[in-house]
Symmetry: C2
Subunit: 208 residues, 2 copies
DNA sequence: ATTATATCGATATATAGGTATCGATATTGA
DNA sequence: TCAATATCGATACCTATATATCGATATAAT
């Protein structure tokens, strides 16, 4: 099982969406050429990405859709369910909980933790909210591997350390802060500022 | 004014955050080495990124913080205010509106548009909600350059076309859909699925 | 005054990832 | 049956970006 380069991994969800859309329309075969045109990539790139799944295509036809979907999902680990907790039930946290699309990735958020006493005991989007004091114990008991971090920037580092100590293995970090943790924990950052910086820059360049 | 590579642009907001934190602490000078250690980058990379702003450092001292902040903000275009509208006042849209950090980037959301009649006339996080029918007219009158797109995937393409026709120049797309527009419009995608794919993959690799 | 040191900045090198080329193969249509 | 075609898959190439090396410079310490 050779490792797939990250840029390809990041494109996989795009392929999956298109493939599932084709599938809904009743299509059974898809070529790298077709996918490439729909997504605005070069067909060579797509062909290479698909080859990384280990699947073989068929000249003149392309790839059989169902096995392809399966292969991509397996490459991503999305064929198995991943349990997670969410820490920080603010605006963004609630919005993420309300997004039903996560189920597609196998992501299942089973508990929410927050420091605000007013929220404890309530439910956000159907998921119960627990106090931060119960965090360590909960992770220890359930061996939940992943945490979605949606706390304010100021408390991000502190909370992340708490998560690490409790034994969490992956953190999806939405807080605008760079976390410094041991490399036992995988941290994936979603940085809106970086994204907006790119947009600003491209717009600026465009108008010159 | 030579163009700065996108990977550097994406790192600029991280530098800015650190620099402002130093500034708060009263520090006046910062070296590429220090920034690099705090952010987990190589010092050579940071030095090169900073050089791209056009500023000169001082041996043994590094860079003077205030001019550096200014230079980075100017490179990003964040010293000028960017007006934008937000389309789609759902969970995510409201959460983004509630995030006060955008002001730091010069981003100012002045109006919200939504197709739900129940929301028209109300305010979300203090910003008034207008019906979709008024979208084209509003953009035409105000010449607002940017739109934040937080509608469901199904209506993303349709709405984006409407935005293009109305004359929008940049779209910050949070909908899980690849937009097909003319290249007159700059589209910046925030794809949670791609981000989660990367996290899944790194976690999987890690446990082997 | 002289030496040691931390940093910058320029040049050179390495690597990852994307792109182009081309032969091989299966299917379609004449 | 045979030619035309669309695709795959392997190899080779190219470009962007990150990393390494090294001399230059200003400050601080001796």
């Amino acid at each position: 099982m050779k490792s797939i380069p990250l840029p390809a991994i990041r494109r996989y969800p795009l392929y999956l969406r298109r493939l599932k859309a084709y599938r809904m329309g009743g299509t059974l075969w898809v070529s790298a050429t077709m996918l490439a045109e729909d997504l605005g990539f070069s067909s060579i790139l797509v062909r290479k990405d698909l080859a990384l799944t280990g699947l073989e295509g068929r000249p003149k036809y392309g790839f059989s859709i169902d096995p392809l979907i399966g292969a991509i999902e397996e490459s991503l680990g999305w064929n198995n369910r991943t349990d997670a907790i969410l820490v920080g039930a603010g605006n963004l946290g609630s919005a993420l909980l309300g997004y039903s699309g996560f189920a597609q990735y196998g992501l299942e958020i089973s508990a929410v933790f927050d420091s605000d006493p007013a929220k404890i005991g309530t439910k956000v989007q159907g998921v119960p909210v627990f106090p931060m004091e119960k965090l360590t114990d909960f992770i220890g008991r359930t061996h939940i591997p992943m945490a979605v971090l949606t706390v304010p920037a100021e408390s991000a580092q502190r909370t992340a350390e708490q998560l690490e100590d409790a034994g969490i293995r992956g953190i999806w970090n939405f807080a605008p802060a760079k976390l410094k943790l041991s490399d036992k924990v995988v941290v994936q950052r979603v940085d809106l500022a970086s994204s907006f910086a790119e947009l600003s820059s491209r717009l600026k360049k465009d108008q010159t």
